[in-house]
């Protein structure tokens, strides 16, 4: 994170010019991500109307290959894979949004507290983030879920445990560097309260980096939750969940459609969020973006 104060541009709002949020929408990648994510959101909302079958209804037609009656075939219990994939969005999408929102809230509060107070409070919170970062994410999430007992709720809790520290660090760093920024001091000198300085000057500057991180984490959350369910630690059968559907697919290896289509669903959702996050990063944080020119040095 750069120590220099962030430029003011994010304050002025959502205008369409380079370096602002508006410029993200002129990128093809952002549009592709938007369309893909939007489509999945619509699916999640209107699933009961779209899905041709009940995702839990079993039938005697086991292992049917994909056909016009069953677009993605049927599984080992004769359930329609297409309907189950569509219903899976109702689980993964809201959970991803919920998770990231919680991680941002917890991380931002702890990070702001650490950055503002400093001293031992800062020390304790930062060492806690170090500890979380000392584990590869899925290893810690796996251990936490296993300790609490396998269930979707505990898997969500475990993902929250591994996600909050990155926000705490970003927010802490920004709060510390911005506390010394000239324009924040200027606001204070003009007689503004520290609350006003925080809300008007600091918060908008924190919002950009956090938003980039959060968008990318939406994809990571979907991946991690699916991974935990793949391990049997998240969603439990017969819940239609993408990760556990791929797991079943590995057990019936030659019926390729059982695992392939739920996996495609995961891939497309994560890709959508990563497209969006990457374009946002381009727009808001030119230093680390793909759009770095490497010319004006």
């Amino acid at each position: 994170m750069s120590a220099q104060p962030l430029p003011l541009r994010f304050r002025v709002g959502f205008r369409r010019r380079p370096g602002t949020l508006g410029s993200a929408w002129s990128q093809p990648l952002a549009i592709a991500g938007m369309i893909l994510a939007g489509a999945w959101l619509l699916v999640a909302i209107f699933v009961p109307l779209i899905a041709p079958y009940d995702p839990l209804a079993q039938s005697s037609q086991l292992f049917l290959e994909p056909s016009s009656a069953h677009l993605f075939g049927t599984d080992e219990l004769g359930r329609d894979v297409f309907s189950r994939v569509l219903w899976g969005s109702r689980l993964s999408l809201p959970l991803a949004f919920f998770l990231v929102a919680m991680a941002v809230a917890v991380g931002a509060v702890l990070g702001a507290v650490a950055g503002y107070f400093g001293g031992w409070v800062d020390e304790v919170i930062m060492r806690a983030t170090d500890l979380v970062f000392a584990f590869p994410t899925i290893i810690l999430a796996m251990a936490v879920t296993a300790a609490l007992g396998p269930s979707l709720r505990n898997a969500v809790l475990a993902v929250l445990v591994v996600f909050w520290p990155s926000y705490a660090r970003v927010v802490r760093g920004l709060v510390m560097s911005l506390g010394q920024a000239d324009y924040v001091s200027a606001t204070r000198l003009l007689g503004a309260s520290s609350r006003r300085a925080l809300v008007v000057d600091v918060l908008p500057n924190v919002a950009g980096p956090v938003m980039v991180l959060a968008t990318l984490d939406l994809g990571n959350a979907v991946l991690l939750l699916a991974g935990l369910s793949f391990l049997g630690l998240g969603a439990q059968p017969p819940t239609p969940e993408w990760g556990s559907m791929v797991n079943t697919g590995t057990q019936f290896f030659q019926r390729w459609w059982m695992g392939t289509f739920p996996g495609f669903a995961i891939l497309s959702v994560v890709l959508a969020f990563n497209f969006l996050g990457d374009s946002l990063r381009d727009a808001l944080d030119p230093r680390s973006s793909w759009a770095v020119q490497g010319r004006d040095r």
Binding site: L29, D130, F135, L231, G243, G263, W290
Partner: protein, 361 residues
């Protein structure tokens, strides 16, 4: 520098002579070592707290169905872990066990977790190292190409590929790759580390490829490589995406520096400029991704090894997770975390060696 040779001025030492590490470097090393130790202690604390979190009777959770009916076994378990003593003492006991290498006993294998880990370790090490090598090779190449062709079509395509790599669920990629390359095309053998009927070379390192090479059994080496290539590539997908992106920006940071321009002005071919001057300067920051790359591979092995029937730590972790074998899960987590922080430590030190500016910070 050029006028006075080493003989004329003993103060100036030639750069190639091995010198004792400088004071700042020793201090840097010491600080990192202390941090490593504290972090290791913290990891054991996390593992301990997690075992405490397990709802219900820890004896029931750790002993499994078979032993729980045996009061003597339960009593022995309680005494071993000091379950009737206060928590700080329990933690002390736990640390004492760890120091002696006691990670508890797996419910599934009925063997010490340590024995299991040392048996499965080499298979995962072989897979992980191969995968990271592939990822670095491809990632750096693609990253350099993207940087050189920046903002052109190639660059945009590589951007999408790189994002695709980090968006792919590894366990799904493994399934699809196995179906296509083994089941449909028959290009690679199906599962395990060797064909059934083939014996591994005499055990030296536990890495089948290296052992085969050492004993000169080239048929075993070829077979081991055939088994290794697909899982290693699948595991590399995420890191290729990561490294492509990282290399690209690292190269762009230096590509128009004055000394690069000077090299161009000398009339060196662009190829030499990029490989000799640009990549050399861009490499140190790329090294730092090594730790992250390792974490990604470990994440991948947990999800993927069982699909390839690869008898490594990942498969062990997978079976522990699906059967809720708690001592095994905690043992694997602890082990992987310790290896991970040691890898990060090594990367840090390497970076300090390559780039002296880091040591001051």
């Amino acid at each position: 520098m050029t006028s006075a040779g080493p003989a004329a001025n003993p103060e100036i030492q030639p750069g190639w002579r091995l010198r004792l590490p400088s004071r700042p470097f020793v201090r840097f090393l010491g600080r990192r070592l202390a941090a490593l130790f504290l972090l290791g202690l913290g990891i054991t604390f996390v593992a301990f707290v997690l075992t405490e979190l397990v709802p219900g009777d820890p004896a029931a959770a750790n002993l499994g169905q078979r032993a729980i009916g045996d009061p003597a076994a339960v009593q022995a378990f309680r005494e071993h872990y000091g379950l009737d003593k206060p928590l700080p003492i329990q933690y002390g006991l736990y640390l004492q066990h760890l120091v002696t290498g006691d990670l508890g006993e797996s419910e599934q294998s009925h063997r010490p977790v340590r024995t299991d880990l040392s048996e499965y370790g080499p298979a995962t090490a072989e897979l992980a190292v191969t995968s990271i090598l592939i990822a670095y090779l491809l990632g750096i190449t693609l990253g350099v190409v993207a940087a050189v062709r920046r903002n052109r079509l190639t660059d945009q395509v590589l951007r999408v590929i790189s994002l695709g790599g980090i968006s792919m669920p590894t366990f799904w990629l493994a399934l699809v790759a196995l179906y296509v390359f083994f089941f449909k095309l028959g290009w690679v053998p199906g599962s395990g580390r060797l064909d059934p009927g083939l014996l591994p070379a005499p055990h030296v390192t536990g890495l089948y490829t290296v052992d085969a090479l050492l004993s000169g059994q080239f048929d075993v080496l070829a077979n081991a490589l055939q088994h290794l290539i697909l899982p290693a590539c699948v595991l590399a997908a995420y890191n290729i995406g990561l490294l492509t992106r990282f290399t690209r920006s690292a190269v762009l940071e230096v590509i128009n520096n004055d000394y690069v321009q000077a090299a161009r002005a000398k009339g060196l071919p662009e190829r030499t400029v990029v490989l000799r001057h640009v990549l050399k300067a861009a490499l140190p920051p790329i090294i730092t991704v090594g730790g992250l790359a390792f974490a990604n591979v470990m994440t991948g092995t947990v999800l993927v090894e069982s699909i390839f029937s690869w008898p490594g730590i990942g498969q062990y972790a997978f079976h522990s997770a699906t059967t809720l074998d708690l001592p095994a899960i905690m043992g694997v987590s602890l082990f992987v975390a310790v290896v991970y922080i040691v890898v990060n430590f090594t990367v840090d030190i390497l970076y300090g060696v390559v780039d002296p500016r880091i040591r001051v910070a």
